[in-house]
Structures are given as structure tokens and as C-alpha cells.
Amino acid sequence: MHLCPTTRIPRGLPQTIGLARAVFAIAAISTSARAVIALTAPSTWARAVFAIAALFTLLQVDPVLAQAGTETGWINTDRTQALVLGIILTGAILLYVVLASAGRPLFIRKIAGLETVEEAVGRATEMGKPILYVPGLNDMDEVQTIASMNLLGHLATIIAGYDSRLHVPVRKSLVMSVARETVQQSYLSAGRPDAYQEDDIHYVSDAQFAYAAAVDGIIVREKPAACFYLGGFYAESLILAETGNSIGAIQIAGTARPPQLPFFVAACDYTLIGEELFAASAYLSKEPRMLGSLKGQDAGKGIAIVFILAGSALATLETVTGSESVRAFSEIVLWLFR
């Protein structure tokens, strides 16, 4: 096992601190925000080069900003990098949210699976069969459950337009509360408040397999035409998906729990992979602010890719040349990632 050069990087660099440099650091942050825009907008190579250069400038300078915090003893020094990156990422997301709500048009690529949602609902209505929605096993303290609730809201709006029954068994009582609020709201906004059945959204049991056993029971007895599994899933993913498959339901799944993705991919018709689950509600709602935030996420990926490339290139250069100055430079660049 060899050691990566990154493991040698000290946390925080020694600094001489001055107010002027702190001001410069703030200026650098705003430069970086512009760099992020440049990176993700339909751009030319020149703009990309400018962006990377600006980011590097930022990296060289922003330890100063961090130092300004630590000198007064307010900031947890181990987390300065996270703070700086957090500001950059959230800044990028907010920026696009603002731009999008100001009316800037945003493109979003197709997400396979979501296209078929309406078709699945239509089929259920035709066959006179219910639709099953499983919001995963996690409680409301997981962000993917919240994402799932958003999707449930969109789905319920579509379902309200047809005349199908929506069945939502849940494992956590908090999720039940939220699901009821969400679905009721959707039916209301679709002008079908009478179609809302509170008892169709119900708590089963907190125990994972008691829940799986009960949902399996629902699947084989009610024979839903479409099954949605969206949220945080564990081992029961395949129990549910295989049972759903055995009755011939259209199945659309999505989770941000990587271990369960292979089973959904194998047993379902469509699977939203990881981040696609979070992107789905923006995709379905087409709400500008949601799309803007999605664009901000892309900026984050852009930053990750740029740094992975830069970091690997510098590490490679260092390995090949063994030069001290390359090492010193790469330490500055890699400081942001500890």
C-alpha cells in the first residue's frame, strides 16, 4: 500500500495575517462565485481557463480568511475547509436559484423512468387497480425521505387527475403525518379533495421486516398496477421488488442508498440512481427555483471534477519529478480538501 501525497498535508497553513489580506480573500470568494457560473454556463474554453485560474487564486488566499476566524477562537479549525467549500457550494446553488427565479431559462436532461410515471398511473386507472407508493424505511430526519415526500406530492397530483386509488403504507409515523399532509394538499390543488382517503396512508410497524411482510401482503392481495419505491431502502428492497414483479406491476424505484441500487436495477422497470432521486422533484415540478438549485448541484460536480483532475495531475507530477516545489504547490491546492 502506498501513501497518497494528500495524507501529508497539514491542517491549516501558517499565516501572517492582516486585514488587507482578509479583504482580498473575500474578494477571491466573489471571484470564485463568478468562476462557478463561468464553469457551468454554456462556455468557451477561455472562460473555463479563467474559472480554474480564479479558483486557484481563491485557494491560495482563503486560508487567510479561515485564519481570521480561528484567531478569535470562533471557528472550529478542523472544519474551515468544509466551511469554505460549503460557502462556495451553497453560494453556487443560491446563485442559480436567484437567476432562475429571475426568469433565466434552464435546461434539464431527461430522467428515464419519470417519463413513464403518467403512463403507469393511466394504466392503473384503466385496469381499475390501485397504485402503491412505498416511501422507504427512513424517518423524516433523512433528506431522501423528504425528497420522496416531494415526489409523492407530484405523483398524487397526477393521480388525482385520474380516478385511481393511492395506497401508501409507511414504516415511520412521522412519515405518515407528512405523507397525509402532502397528499391531501395535492388532491386539494388538483380540485379533488373528495378523493382523498386518509386511511390509505397508514402506519404499519417500525420493525423493518414486519413492514416488509405487510407490504408484501398488500402487493399480493391488492395487486397494484404500479409500484413506486422511492426513498431510503435497505434489505427489503428486493423482497418488495420481486414480489411486485411476480404480479406484473410496472415498477419505478429510486434510492440514495447505494447498496440497494443493484437490486432495484435488476428487479424494477426503471431506477432513479442516487442523485437522480433528488433531481426528480425538480424535474417533475419544472419549478424555476428547483431547476436553479439543480444547476447549482451541477456546479458542485464541476468543482469536484476540476479538483480531482488538478489534484491527480499535481500528485502525478510530484511522483514523477519528486520536486519539492511541486509538492509545496500541490499542498496549497489540496489544502481545501485537507
Binding site: 500500500m1 431510503g232 434489505a235 447498496p259 435488476a266 426503471y270
Partner: protein, 296 residues
Amino acid sequence: MRIPDSILHIDRRIIFLLIGAAVCIPLILKPRFQDSPTPIVQSIFDTVERLPPGSRVFLSFDYGPDTAPELDPMAKALVRHTMTRGHEVSFFTLFPEGVGQIKKITDSLLPLEFPEKAYGRDFVNLGYKAGLGGAINTMVVNFRTLVNADAEGTPLDALPITADVDEMVDYVIILSLTAGDPGLKEWIQFAGDIAGIPVMGGGTAVVAPELYPYYPQQLVGLMGGLKGASEYESALVDRYPAFRNAPMDATMRMGPQVVTHVLIVLLVLLGNLAYFLGRADRAGRTGQGTQAGRRP
């Protein structure tokens, strides 16, 4: 071309029956397969081995009875190893069902195989704490606000093993046996990365792949599923031949594993053979999915 079709649409229950047989027959015949540890497992073994006797070890049973067949062998191997090395072990769990798993160790394995080890001196049961990852966070920030007594309610100060434990960092290593959330990932995020305590342990074969990215920087070592447990058992038996006669659950259960794996591989090959033989027949009728595994 009807034969391939009937193979392709074979009744699931026939596959179920084959799997049942593939598990039961080796269980009756008991074939033995030798194993040797891979570096990622060896690294855990070496760490436990290198710690000076009397080191404080934190062992979290983050699983319930459902994953016990996979994780119990790891728990037993780790307990046998740490006890043999003379470490002081604190048992803990973030799963409500984990309480029962700890009891299995403290009520049966320890009194039977290590009668000289005393509760409160050599090991202690700190019980279950709710709060998932947040509980780890609280423990790291202020250990005693969350854990002030053992599972039976004896204050920590009254037990020699925990009297000096004021903070999470008083433990030299955190071991977690993980079935899902919370587990090793949360121990890494909230304790390892933040308090700098080395974290290692085992996971079901399901969670193991997700934990690989943390190794070796954030995770000292990892036992993945029954195979990982069986590797640890073989390392243990190699180093301490006295355990040769102890029941090594993982090693024993590898028999059904091997047979079923081979059966599944054969089934997949058969399915593909039938698929290709019958493809010409169906070429005009079926669409091709872009996503793997989409049903035609």
C-alpha cells in the same frame, strides 16, 4: 424454439426449490473449505493483536436478530480475540434489537469460554441508546450526558472498567458490526473523522461495498459478510491453535455458500443460453431496454 422459451419463463418456485436444496444439502453433509485472510481483514486482526493488553475497546453491535447469521460469527470471533488479548471491552448498540445480541455474548459465550473474565472489570454492557447518528455525536461531544450507567443501571463510576471513561476518546478503538444505518458509516462520520478515534469492524455483505471507499484512510479494516468472518476465524485459528476446536460458525456456513453461488452462476448461464437460442425467434417482437435489467 419452444424449449428456450420454457426455460426463460421457468416458474420461480422451481428456482426457490433448487435454492432450498442447495442450502440444506451442504448443511447435512458438512463439507469444509479452507480460507485465508485478505489484507482488509488481516488489518483488523493485526490491530487487535498489536494493542497492548488492557486496551479499552468499544464494540458496538449495530444489528438485530435478522442479520445475526452473518454478524454473530464476527462478534464471536472479535470477542474471543479481544478477550484472549486481555483487552477491556465495552459492549454497546445503536439498534434497539441489538440489546438481545449483546446478551447472547455476555450470557452464553463469555461465561462458557472465558469464565475468568468478570463483568465490570473485563467487560461491560452499556446497552442501547436511541438517536441514531445523533447519539454518536452526543457521545463524542459529551460522553457522559448520554451514557452515565451500564445497561443494568449501575453508574459508570461504580464499575472499575468505566470509572476512568469520561470521553469517547478514552477508547483506543471503535469496532462496529454493521447491518445498516446507523453503523460503521456513522461511526466514521461522527467519531472517526471528528474525534480521531480509529474505526474498524464488519458489515453484512450488503453494506460492505458501500464502506470500501473509506478504507484505508478512514476505516482501519473491514470484514465483509460471512466470507470476511470466515477469514477472521482462520486468522484466529492460525494464531491461537487453542481455538481449533471452538465452533467456527462462519467457516461451517461457507458450505451452503459455495454450492449456492455455483448454482446461481449455472442458472444465469442457462438463462443466457436460452435467451440467445431464442433471440432470433423473438427479435422482431421485443424492444431493447437501455437500462440493464429492464423487462422486455
